[in-house]
């Protein structure tokens, strides 16, 4: 199968390393060494060595990935300079829902149950449909393993944060199951003690996962995974307005596998998930109810997938599915439903021993927006045993979300209104009949068409170099050209002096740059890994405006304006030009211990336009560059026990004004027991 013989030859020099299998790029078990796409695996060992607790901890240490805080409090991932809304997050191949304001909060996920994390960079809508514009992150959790075993761990850290997990596992012959329970709680922290509110309020959450497997025969398999997540957190809007917010998430994933013969296999999957939040505020002075809101999203998705192997080197995979999604939430005048059947096909072939090629496409039909056709092609060419080249081009899209189509919200204290595209006309007519509209800025016919999905063409070209198992590196150049980016605009002025906003397709944006990843083992006990990403993320219209000389700035807010030059345009908000990670692992065999030091660096970035020209230029205020150093020692004793001690953010970096998700120095200790 494939040209992994080459991979085995190389690996045989170092028998410790086994060939890694990658699922996300092709939806089949595929050896990573011959994939023509920019992919990355984060192994269980990586997660354990970094002593990560939540998903954001480990992703933040990866080349080209950064978690970015959002006003709603969520922490989303930025990949290849694309916002978290444009990265698809999967758990065991199934999409997570619950993007409250576009951001999917990845703090929701514990790392305790993760077997590995697969990252595919570049648009991948050809397999996964909507949201896979920047790429796909697939979190693969542990499956039942042979025998009976129990695992327990407990971790205590600064801010009374506690993390504990228990695993109960059994597998024999045909039947296996695995139960996982995690509790994570914290007193939260306060970066700004002068203010009445804490930066992060106290919370407690639980994750429960039960997986069962049954093999009817060697050819057919049954698998069921049930997951439940619950979080309760204090929710305070002021010293007086206090309440609670809760999240409840259920998911079930059912899978039948059937191998008809060596060539043909089929998979049927049925996935259902519910994500609910409830928030309320009470006036604590007089005990009266102040406000509440809720969010209730559901997704049901059956999919049938067929894999056909023509021979060792040619394989076809095809799938057909139906996605049904609904949302009930405050500030929606309707309860919208999305129905989207889809079909995809992908062909994976080794044209010669040195050339691997993948071509594929997916078609998504939809009841609320234009159907999407997403092709992708990728080629990898091995020049010799050391060098290989790979290139891929793909189409990615992100469907307008429920909010962009159906939001109907009027701010009760300030008085502005935000309307989703599909309800804008009727809601506007209603506001007009109530005499609340002073002037219409756009004509109602501008709202007659449908909002187009945001879409991109993504290109990746990379070089892999493998001198030996001790020294290798890879470089990947990327470019994402994004069209029809959805933004808000004023569609009418209200008689109260405020505006009515709605969504529309406007911007053309690009992100481009390159990333380098390297690994070096100068000694048997010492491993050094490092990564760097250079990023340019810019709005094409903004670039044109700077070029034309239409943009001005002031050095001081009250000094006269002057004209800006082309090179004064910095780019999109919240993007750093440079990101670096450097990790040093040292093994102490005598002590049965590992020590590691990990450094991440992020160069300056802008959060807002501070000089009033609506663009981020070099004269704006920037969030200063920072680096974070983590240190830890993991020691094993009596085979079944291990103790981890460490300090995250050793130099206690904080930026209370701009970065609310970095709490400062954290000291922790963790005990693991495997029985």
């Amino acid at each position: 199968m494939y040209s992994f013989s080459q991979g085995i030859q190389v690996d045989s020099i170092n028998p410790v390393k086994l060939e890694q299998v990658f699922v996300t790029a092709t939806r089949t078990n595929r050896f990573i060494s011959t994939l023509p796409l920019p992919v990355h695996i984060i192994s269980k060992r990586d997660i354990e060595q970094a002593n990560s607790v939540r998903l954001n901890d480990i992703l933040n240490e990866q080349t080209g990935l950064i978690t970015v805080n959002d006003y709603g409090g969520g922490e989303g991932i930025q990949m290849q300079g694309l916002d978290s809304q444009y990265t698809l997050i999967l758990v065991d191949g199934m999409p997570l829902v619950g993007r409250l304001a576009g951001t999917l909060d990845i703090k929701r996920l514990t790392t305790a149950n993760i077997k590995k994390i697969e990252v595919v960079k570049g648009a991948s809508s050809s397999l996964y449909g909507s949201d896979a514009m920047g790429g796909v992150i697939n979190i693969i959790t542990e499956n039942p393993e042979k025998g009976f075993n129990v695992k327990l761990n407990y971790r205590l850290e600064t801010f009374s944060t506690e993390d504990m997990s228990a695993v109960l596992n059994y597998k024999k012959a045909k039947f296996g199951w695995r139960a996982f329970l995690n509790k994570y709680s914290s007193n939260g922290f306060d970066l700004n003690p002068k203010t009445e509110l804490k930066t992060v309020d106290p919370f407690v959450n639980y994750t429960f996962n039960l997986k069962t497997e049954y093999a009817f025969s060697k050819q057919s398999n049954f698998y069921l995974s049930l997951k439940y997540f619950n979080q309760n957190q204090d929710y305070n809007a002021s010293a007086i307005l206090r309440g609670e917010s809760s999240i409840n998430e259920w998911s079930s994933n059912l899978k039948f596998t059937r191998e008809f013969n060596v060539k043909l296999s089929a998979y049927f999957e049925f996935y259902a998930t519910v994500f609910k939040t409830d928030n309320y505020l009470i006036n604590s002075e007089n005990g009266t109810f102040f406000d509440s809101n809720y969010f209730d999203q559901q997704l049901i998705r059956p999919e049938l997938r067929v894999q056909y192997k023509f021979n060792e080197v040619n394989e076809l995979i095809g799938g057909i599915g139906y996605s049904h999604e609904s949302l009930d939430r405050t500030n929606f005048s309707v309860q919208p439903e999305f129905n989207a059947p889809y079909v995809y096909l992908q062909y994976d072939s080794n044209l010669t021993n040195d050339i691997n090629m993948i071509i594929g496409a997916r078609f998504d039909s939809h009841n609320k927006y234009r159907s999407q056709f997403s092709p992708k092609a990728a080629v990898r060419y091995s020049l010799n045993k050391k060098w290989s080249l790979k290139g891929s081009v793909g189409y990615g899209f992100k469907a307008p979300d429920f909010r962009q189509l159906f939001f109907d919200f009027t701010n009760s204290t300030v008085g502005y209104t935000v309307l989703g595209f599909n309800v804008a006309n009727s809601a506007l007519a209603q506001l007009q009949s109530q005499g609340e509209i002073a002037t219409l800025i756009i004509s109602p016919s501008d709202l007659k068409n449908t909002l187009s999905p945001e879409n991109s063409i993504s290109t990746n070209i990379g070089v892999d170099y493998k001198l030996s198992p001790k020294l290798n590196f890879k470089v990947n150049f990327f470019r994402n050209n994004i069209n029809d980016l959805i933004d808000t605009r004023v569609i009418a002025n209200k008689t109260n002096g405020q505006n009515v906003f709605s969504y529309y397709n406007v911007n053309k944006v690009y992100t481009s740059g390159f990333e380098i990843d390297g690994k070096w083992k100068p000694l048997n006990q010492l491993k050094i890994t490092g990564g760097y990403q250079l990023l340019f993320a810019k709005d094409k219209e903004a670039e044109a405006a700077f070029e034309k000389g239409d943009v001005y700035a002031r050095k001081d807010p009250v000094s006269p304006a002057f004209q800006l030059k082309k090179e004064d345009y910095f780019g999109l908000f919240n993007r750093s030009r440079h990101m670096v990670n450097l990790k040093l692992y040292y093994m102490l065999p005598k002590w049965k211990a590992f020590a590691n030091v990990r450094l991440t660096y992020r160069s300056k970035y802008g959060l807002l336009d501070s000089n009033g020209n609506n663009y981020l230029d070099v004269y704006d205020d920037f969030v200063e560059a920072y680096s974070i150093l983590d240190f830890s020692i993991n020691k094993t004793f009596y085979t079944n026990y291990s103790l981890n001690i460490g300090i995250d953010n050793l130099f206690n970096f904080t930026d209370p004004q701009n970065i609310s998700n970095i709490p400062g120095r954290i000291i922790y200790a963790k005990l693991n027991i495997n029985l």
């Binding site: 006003y71 204290t413 300030v414 008085g415 002037t439 004023v490 002025n493 008689t495 109260n496 002096g497 405020q498 505006n499 239409d550 943009v551 001005y552 700035a553 002031r554 001081d556 807010p557 009250v558 000094s559 006269p560 304006a561 002057f562 004209q563 807002l608 336009d609 501070s610 000089n611 009033g612 020209n613 609506n614």
Partner: protein
Amino acid sequence: MKTMKTIQFIILIALFTGFSSCSNDDDEPLVAVESQTITNLQAQQAGGQGQPISGAFAKFDFLTGQTTESDSDWDIAFRGTSIIVNGGTSLGTIDEPERTGEGAAYIASGTMASVMEVTQDLFVQDSDTGYAITTGSGNGWYSYSGAPTYLITPIPGKILVFKTRDGRYAKVEILSYYENAPSEPNAFTDTSRVYTFNYVYQPNFGITTF
């Protein structure tokens, strides 16, 4: 008598036009262009935040370079973020003054130094559908940051070009919307609706450059 007077008048007119047309050729000095900075012009309003806006506009007269209470001898006027001209018709908001002159305005892109000539075609008067200086964040002279800073910032590179009530011209660059034009304004602690602006006034009739 009547014809005498008419003849005298015609001669006077002829003499005057002859004289004035000569004056240009003879380098008769024009009145100098005035460049001034106005600080802390109060433009308070009542209402807003969902309620109807009211309160007297702060009227400004380029000729004197000062604010005025006059019903007719004003060129531009301020209330909150709204700027009106003494020309056209009222939008009809509460306490909005009647227009008595031939004022008009447009917003040019550039710096005070680069906007050197008036473009007549661009002038617009206030009307019952909107002001010549358009309102709203990003639409006119300012942008509003929203959360978390809630700042009103004059957009750099927006020069307001005015035709005064009597047909002369002025250009204005607004520098600050906060009292004492702080270099790091804070919407929570600094008093807003207080203008600081630079202007250049061309006091000579018919001259379209500054």
